[in-house]
């Protein structure tokens, strides 16, 4: 459905995308993960026809992204990484404009989306909060019920409740057989919706794998706080993979939970915090570096 073929765009100083090849199947949710500046937005800009590659090509539904952009857009919904809305309209005027401009005749879907995300559109766009603008972006992307969706960091600016609503929306669309490419630098966002994930870093596609495989590759780390430094140091001597001892806290990497829990039960544990694994760590672990 979405085909990217040896896509290359060199901006100099190692920035850009270099020889990307991957495919998003029809009905699949594909997560595009990478740190800031890795090349996610550059790839998406190629898909949208905003920029043209130095080498390679990309197509959606068999149509070339560069030459057939308008035709592709008929059935595509897009959420840009930066929501840049005009200054001189109200939210409602803007949505009406976008609907007319695109030829959307059924306003009910827009209303449903507005209600679902609790979108108050009466105010001037200039004065809206980031979160509100992001919600307008969501409505614009989904209002015409497109078959393909390209979402660049879609939950940025949304509060946790709205993030959940959004994830529900994506899962609903997936169940209707839509094809979705979603980019993010937050693993959790992608974890709940994607089937496969492509990880990119410094312009190179590091790996494409299923979400399950990536989750399995994640290390589980916990920071345990004890009642005293003495207990912490004693715990650190247990046969566990101890990463760090700091004051009353010990950070442990856990593969097998039973010995970990058994060891903890012999001490006075005050607190346990799961250490979130950063994207870097996922990559590095995945490659055994």
């Amino acid at each position: 459905m979405i085909k990217i073929n040896h896509l290359t765009k060199d901006y100099g100083q190692k920035r850009g995308v270099f020889d990307f090849t991957f495919e998003v199947q029809r009905g699949e949710v594909f997560g595009f993960l990478g740190p800031n500046g890795a090349g996610k937005t550059t790839t998406i800009r190629h898909l949208m026809g905003f920029i043209h590659p130095n080498a390679g090509n990309c197509s959606i539904n068999g149509l070339d992204c560069g030459t057939h952009s308008a035709e592709i857009q008929r059935n595509l919904g897009y959420m840009p990484g930066e929501i840049a809305l005009p200054d001189d309209m109200t939210g409602l005027d803007f949505l009406h404009f976008m609907a007319d401009y695109r030829g959307v005749t059924d306003w009910t879907r827009v209303e449903q989306l507005m209600m679902r995300f609790e979108l108050d559109v009466r105010g001037n766009l200039k004065r809206m909060s980031k979160g509100m603008k992001q919600k307008i972006g969501i409505v614009c992307a989904f209002m015409h019920d497109p078959q393909v969706l390209i979402l660049d960091e879609p939950t940025s600016g949304l509060d946790p409740l709205m993030q959940n609503h959004f994830i529900d929306l994506v899962l609903e669309e997936k169940s209707k057989g839509k094809t979705i490419l979603m980019s993010s630098h937050i693993f959790e966002e992608v974890e709940r919706t994607a089937d496969r994930v492509g990880i990119i870093r410094e312009g190179h596609l590091v790996t494409v794998d299923s979400v399950a495989a990536l989750k399995a590759a994640q290390r589980k780390r916990y920071t345990v706080s004890f009642a005293s430094e003495k207990e912490a140091q004693a715990f650190a001597k247990e046969p566990l993979a101890v990463d760090l001892v700091k004051g009353q806290e010990v950070t442990v990497t856990v593969n097998d939970f039973q010995p970990f829990v058994a060891a903890m039960s012999r001490y006075t544990v005050v607190n346990i915090v799961a250490v979130e694994q950063s994207l870097e760590e996922i990559f590095m672990h995945y490659y055994g570096k």
Binding site: M48, G49, F50, S69, A70, Q73, E82, P86, M98, C140
Partner: protein, 265 residues
């Protein structure tokens, strides 16, 4: 052309448009009111009595009739410069401002091709400029007839304005071209305003006559020659034709570049 976009751009810029119409209306009225038909009659008598003296002063046929008066005092600067500023501002609002701010994303993430968007914006620019001019012409004629009934040769006056349309068309083309190839509003204003201003200054220098008179070949404003148009010279008409061709070339190249280039969206 996309009518939704067309209407929206009109709504977005009509206040600017009205301001320019108001300013021009005021200046036109004031200038017309400063015309003195008696001066023309006096000069005529003088010319009959001492023709050599009059041509020595180069006052053979200048400033005497209302249309000559307007040609000098309105069509030398005001009717060129004010519309030019409007054109520069509007041309920028229509393309580069959208690209610079990122709102062009929403115009292009749609079933509308870049060509359609560009053409729509071009029509906005041309129609607003043209109607602005039409209104000004109407006001000029209205005020002239009110203050000096019958003094203005309306046919010649309309030809004069048709020539002005050609000049403004060329300016629209150039400013739109700059807007289409630029990514930043600042640069676009610099080139969009800078080059025409430079050419205009060159023309002013050329008007001072003497050795500087040859500078008239260095500026496109020379192609708009109010006196020649009023007099019905054929040279005036091929010059206006050249202006139309220049405008058209800029529009075509500008839109073609906009269609193909990378956009920072």
């Amino acid at each position: 052309m996309n009518t939704t976009l067309f209407k929206r751009e009109l709504r977005s810029s009509y206040k600017l448009w009205l301001i320019f119409i108001a300013i021009l209306a005021m200046y036109i009225s004031v200038i017309i009111s400063m015309f003195d038909p008696k001066l023309g009659e006096t000069l005529d008598l003088f010319a009959k009595a001492m023709p050599e003296m009059m041509s020595l002063f180069g006052m053979g046929e200048t400033g005497a009739t209302l249309i000559d008066f307007l040609s000098n005092y309105l069509y030398g600067m005001l009717m060129i410069v004010f519309p030019m500023v409007f054109i520069i501002m509007l041309a920028n609002r229509l393309v580069v401002a959208h690209v610079d701010s990122g709102s062009m994303t929403y115009l292009l993430a749609s079933p509308n091709t870049r060509r359609k968007v560009a053409f729509t914006q071009m029509f906005v620019l041309l129609s607003m400029t043209f109607v602005l001019l039409v209104i000004c012409v109407g006001i000029a004629i209205g005020v002239s007839e009110a203050m000096f009934p019958g003094a203005l040769v309306i046919g010649d006056f309309l030809w004069l304005n048709l020539g002005l349309v050609c000049l403004l068309f060329a300016l629209c083309g150039y400013c739109f071209f700059i807007s289409c190839i630029s990514n930043e509003t600042g640069k676009a204003v610099m080139f969009g305003a800078g080059v025409p201003t430079f050419f205009y200054l060159v023309q002013m220098l050329a008007n001072m006559g003497g050795k500087l008179a040859d500078l008239k070949y260095a500026t496109i404003f020379t192609l708009f020659n109010p006196k020649a148009i009023i007099a019905g010279d054929t040279s005036a008409w091929w010059m206006c034709g050249a202006l139309v061709v220049i405008g058209a070339i800029f529009f075509v190249v500008g839109i073609a570049r906009f269609e193909k280039r990378d956009l920072p969206l």
